[in-house]
Structures are given as structure tokens and as C-alpha cells.
């Protein structure tokens, strides 16, 4: 019961955050926090959620999720009106965004199919290789992806007469999308499909012996993760007003993993916790250590988490709570 109350308070805090920030910070800083810290954390949290979903319920650590997100971003950038340069163009956002989600889902299915016969570190290697292959292809291909420069000026649709990139609009749209996807994941893992997936994680041979197709379930899980990553990719592309190969390079690919691991791979909520921590560090690295040495800082945080608490912040919290609970237990 208490955890339900905590959750309700947390949800309320997230909804009220932009206004609470206005109370404690001057207006321009509050806007900055809303869009560039919280908004960004939610968007990248969605991409990290796709990895956390695969890792938590399937046991697959896929390094292709940023690339899958990027495929959705590129689909939008290639299709929509107003993007510079125009590759295809002429498609309204209302149509381009669903197409992008389909593209990302297909890309996820493709990654799943390529990696279907591998697991653990082999899967890690193969998904990374696929992701980097796509990255290098995108970087060298001018005709479709405008090569190294990428595609600019993807500003997002008008929503209720306001710019999509208005900090409040962007924040609440991202929050709603994230909440739907997060709830969707929690629902999905209780369906027969989700249960089979967890069975595969624990013992794929037994699941196969029960008559389920391990391969199809695995590929489908990557498809679901692709859809989630795609939603994050579309939002991230609008956040960045465009997309370039740099967005899906080795750095960002690893960053998604860092977020999920820092938050904790044992629970989908870890994705958002991790991405918030990551974003805060990214934004304020200048004040903590050195403006240009953000990577050293986040690398150290990541390393410490892996060494000390492999299940991340969520695991740390759980252990802390059980520790406190154990102490309180003798006196009911």
C-alpha cells in the first residue's frame, strides 16, 4: 500500500514538475530544466526503456537500440515537410510519425532476427556490430541520409496551435508517451507473451519443450523494443531539430547502455532513473569536474555502479529498503 502511495506521489510530482520548478527557480532556469533536463531525460529514458525491457524480461543486452531509435528519427527527417535538405519530403507529421514507428519496429525485428541464435556477450557483440554498421552506412550515404551532415530543421508538428518544441508542450507530450509505453511494458509482461518471454530468459529449452517457438518470441520482443525505441527516436529528433549520424554513433549507443545500467537493468523504471542521472551529470559536468571531461565523469559513475551494484540504482534502493525493513522487523 505504501509503495502505491509513493507511486502516486511520484506521478503527481512529474506532472507538476514544470510548475514546481517555476516556484523554486527563476523563469528562464525553470524553462531550461523543463525542456533540457527533464524533457530530455524522459526522451532518452524512452530509448533506454527499450533496452531495459529487453534486458529485464528477455535477458538480452542489445546495443542496437540507439540505432533503432535513429532509424525512426531518420524516417521522420526523410519524409516530413520542411526538413533541410529535402530527401523525400511532402509528408505531414501526422503520417510521417506512424511510418517512423513502423520503420523502427521493422528495424527492431531485423536486429532480433540477425541475433536470434546468439545470447549474452555474443548478442552484445552482434547487436553492436549491426548498429555500427548502420552508423557507418548512414554516414557515408549521401543520397538517402545526407551523409555526415545529416538532416536539419525537423521542428515537429503544431499542436493545439503551439509549437511542438514549446518546453511545456514537449515535456507533457514526452511524459504522456513515456507513461503509456512504461504502462504498456508492465502490462505486456503479464500477458502470455510476456510470460513466455520471461520463461525464455530463465530457461529457453524448457519453453521450447512446452511447444512455444523461442525464436519467434525473441524476434517479437525485439520488435516491441524497436517500437519503444522508435517513439523515443522521433521525440529525440524533434528535440535536436534534426538528426545526423553522430546521434547513432558509438558514443550515443553506449550512452543508452550507461543509462540503463546506472538506473538498473532489473526493472524498466531504471531506464528513466538512469537517464535522469545521466542528463543531470551531462548538464552540470562543467560545475563538477571539467566541461570537456564529461565522459571521464560518467564513465567513472558507470564503472562504480557496475563494480558495486550491478543492478544499478533500483537494486541499490531495493537493498537499502530490505536493510531498513530487516532492522524494523523485530518490532512490529
Amino acid at each position: 500500500m505504501r509503495s502505491a502511495a509513493f507511486r502516486a506521489i511520484g506521478a503527481l510530482l512529474l506532472v507538476a514538475a514544470p510548475f514546481l520548478l517555476l516556484v523554486v527557480l527563476p523563469q528562464n532556469q525553470a524553462l531550461f530544466w523543463t525542456a533540457n533536463v527533464l524533457g530530455r531525460a524522459i526522451v532518452f529514458g524512452i530509448i533506454a526503456l527499450s533496452l531495459s525491457f529487453l534486458a529485464t524480461y528477455g535477458g538480452f543486452i542489445s546495443l542496437a537500440q540507439m540505432m533503432v531509435a535513429g532509424s525512426a528519427g531518420y524516417a521522420v527527417a526523410i519524409l516530413v515537410d520542411g526538413a533541410v535538405p529535402t530527401i523525400v519530403g511532402g509528408v505531414p507529421y501526422a503520417l510521417a510519425m506512424p511510418i517512423a514507428l513502423v520503420v523502427a519496429t521493422l528495424m527492431g525485428l531485423l536486429v532480433g532476427a540477425v541475433a536470434v541464435r546468439t545470447r549474452d556477450i555474443y548478442l552484445l557483440m552482434i547487436t553492436l556490430a549491426v548498429a555500427m554498421g548502420v552508423f557507418r552506412f548512414v554516414e557515408t550515404n549521401i543520397a538517402w541520409f545526407n551523409g555526415y551532415e545529416g538532416i536539419r530543421n525537423v521542428v515537429g508538428p503544431q499542436l493545439f496551435g503551439t509549437d511542438f518544441r514549446n518546453p511545456y508542450v514537449f515535456y507533457y507530450v514526452s511524459l504522456v508517451v513515456a507513461a503509456l509505453l512504461y504502462g504498456g511494458v508492465l502490462y505486456l509482461v503479464r500477458t502470455p507473451f510476456g510470460l513466455v518471454l520471461q520463461g525464455i530468459r530463465d530457461n529457453d529449452r524448457r519453453v521450447a519443450a512446452l511447444g512455444y517457438s523461442v525464436k519467434l518470441h525473441r524476434i517479437a520482443a525485439f520488435g516491441v523494443a524497436g517500437f519503444i525505441a522508435g517513439a523515443g527516436g522521433v521525440l529525440a529528433t524533434i528535440y535536436n531539430i534534426g538528426i545526423s549520424p553522430g546521434t547513432i554513433g558509438l558514443g550515443p549507443t553506449v550512452n543508452v547502455l550507461i543509462m540503463s545500467v546506472i538506473g538498473g537493468l532489473g526493472h524498466p523504471a531504471g531506464a528513466f532513473i538512469g537517464s535522469l542521472i545521466f542528463t543531470v551529470f551531462d548538464t552540470f559536468a562543467a560545475n563538477i569536474y571539467d566541461r570537456d571531461r564529461f565522459n571521464t565523469l560518467i564513465g567513472l559513475v558507470f564503472l562504480v555502479i557496475v563494480l558495486v551494484s550491478p543492478d544499478g540504482m533500483v537494486g541499490l534502493g531495493t537493498r537499502l529498503r530490505s536493510l531498513l525493513g530487516a532492522r524494523r522487523a523485530p518490532q512490529p
Binding site: I61, M125, A129, V130, F137, A143, G249, F302, L307
Partner: protein
């Protein structure tokens, strides 16, 4: 004809470099079951440390400047590799995923520190006069001597590795460790020390590749990602832990890259990945990998 021969020769020289770097990756994976995601970073470390030693000597016009740089690069990589295994990885033996994550963390930190210490300027070694210039090759014409030397070094590395693994005591221990670590320990072998030796050897190979690669083409940030990717693809295609497989993988990837770039420049990357996906579909353990 001439063009085709040049492309093939280019592919083979590239394959030679890929083999040197990837053989270290494959060796470490073969015995330790560690996916060393910091492998590309070791390449950077070797290149930059080697260059630090090389530059003043080259300016002083000493003939052995390049060799000193080569030695420094190899030693730097070997020490870094041994430290990585000794300090961080040795006490989580068997937790493969966690070890891979640790090496990712290390690679982020080290690559960033390399940038901080050595700056982002691209560097390139100048090969000593003895292996500089061009050599006449049948069907091809004049060809950079250093690239031919590269093939020679790769072949030497391959033979040396085969001899070490099949004809020495260390090799015997390594092969035994691949099959059964615990039994090897029970036989009185100091398995952790063998592990450090393997890591140092694998990293040294990467360091050798780092200096040679930075002589043939500029050394810059971003090369770490490139060579990590190359190592991954080469061992995925060739088979994990097999030296011959690594050689086959390197030749396939090197040739595919050059032929692809000659025939359909902006789509060349796809060819490499078609090979990888095809191998994965037919033989998930790689061409010569053990199931």
C-alpha cells in the same frame, strides 16, 4: 586486370592490419571469455604513447625512431591490458556480461583521457627509410613498400601465435584453460597469472596493430570505435578464439571493404554486413568457431 590486382592487394594489406588487431581480441576472448570492449581503446593508447616516443626521436633524425615508437606502443598496450585484467576483471571471472560492461566503462574513461592528454590532432608515424617508398609488384606496378611489410608482419604474427599456442608451455596452459579452467588450476598452474599473460599478449598484438595502422593511415579519435567494430566483425565471421578463423575473417572483411569501395562506394559497408549476417545465419559460431 591491373585495377583488379590493386584492389585485391589493397584488400589483403588491410586484412593484414585487421588480422593483427583482431587476433589479440580473439586470443583474449578464446581463453578468458572476456569481450574486451576496450580493445579499440588499446589501439589508441598504443598509437598515442608510441607517437610521444617517436616524435622527438624523429625530429632528432635517429634511424630507430620508428622502432622505438613501435616498442613503446606495444609495451604501453600490454601494460594497460595486463592492468585491466589484474585490477578489474580478475575478481569477476565468469561474469561475462559484467566484464564486458567494465571494459566499456574503462574504454570511455581512457578514450576521454587520451583526448585530454594528447589532444585531438590526428597523428601519423613515418616509416623508417628501409621500409618506406615503393616496390614494383607484378600486375600492380609501384606499390607502397610499407603495406607489403604489413602483410609480412601479419604472417609472422600468425606463425608466431601458432607456435606459441601449439609448441610452448604457455600455449599448452592456454589451450588447457580454454577447455577446463578448474582442472588447469588443480594441476598446479597459476591460472590468474596465465590470464594476465594472455591479456598482456592480446593487448600487445593490438598495440602492434596500433602503431602499424597509424603508420599506414592517420591516428585520430574515432579509430578506437572503428577497430573495435573491425575486431568484432572479424571474430564473429571467423569464429571466436580461432587464430586461423581470425585470419579468414580478416581476409574476407578486408577484401569486402576494398571491393565494395571500388564497385559501389557509398554502399560498401553493406557488403561487410551481408557477409556477417550470412555467416551468422548459417554458422552462428563463425566459420571456424567451435560450437
Amino acid at each position: 586486370m591491373d585495377l583488379a590486382a590493386t584492389i585485391v592487394l589493397n584488400g589483403l594489406t588491410l586484412a593484414a592490419l585487421y588480422f593483427i588487431v583482431a587476433s589479440g581480441f580473439s586470443l583474449i576472448f578464446g581463453l578468458m571469455r572476456v569481450v574486451n570492449m576496450a580493445h579499440g581503446t588499446l589501439y589508441l593508447v598504443a598509437g598515442y604513447v608510441g607517437y610521444r616516443v617517436f616524435e622527438p626521436l624523429y625530429d632528432a633524425d635517429v634511424w630507430w625512431a620508428w622502432y622505438a615508437g613501435l616498442a613503446a606502443g606495444i609495451v604501453a598496450a600490454a601494460v594497460a591490458g595486463a592492468l585491466l585484467q589484474w585490477v578489474l576483471l580478475s575478481w569477476m571471472q565468469g561474469q561475462e556480461l559484467r566484464q564486458a560492461l567494465v571494459t566499456i566503462g574503462v574504454s570511455i574513461i581512457v578514450a576521454d583521457q587520451v583526448l585530454a592528454i594528447f589532444g585531438g590532432t590526428p597523428r601519423q608515424f613515418f616509416a623508417p627509410d628501409a621500409i618506406f617508398g615503393s616496390t614494383r609488384v607484378p600486375f600492380v606496378g609501384g606499390y607502397p613498400t610499407f603495406r607489403l611489410v604489413q602483410i609480412g608482419i601479419a604472417i609472422a604474427v600468425g606463425i608466431a601465435l601458432w607456435l606459441v599456442l601449439n609448441r610452448t608451455r604457455l600455449g599448452m596452459m592456454i589451450r588447457a584453460g580454454v577447455d577446463d579452467r578448474e582442472m588447469l588450476g588443480a594441476c598446479g598452474v597459476n591460472v590468474p597469472r596465465v590470464g594476465i599473460a594472455v591479456f598482456a599478449l592480446g593487448a600487445a598484438l593490438c598495440g602492434l596493430g596500433g602503431v602499424i595502422g597509424s603508420t599506414a593511415q592517420p591516428l585520430a579519435l574515432g579509430q578506437d570505435g572503428r577497430f573495435l567494430l573491425i575486431s568484432l566483425v572479424v571474430v564473429i565471421v571467423g569464429g571466436m578464439g580461432s587464430i586461423t578463423g581470425t585470419a579468414i575473417g580478416a581476409i574476407l572483411v578486408g577484401l569486402a571493404e576494398q571491393i565494395g569501395q571500388a564497385m559501389f562506394p557509398t554502399y560498401s559497408v553493406i557488403l561487410t554486413f551481408v557477409i556477417m549476417v550470412a555467416v551468422l545465419a548459417l554458422r552462428p559460431q563463425g566459420i571456424l568457431g567451435r560450437a
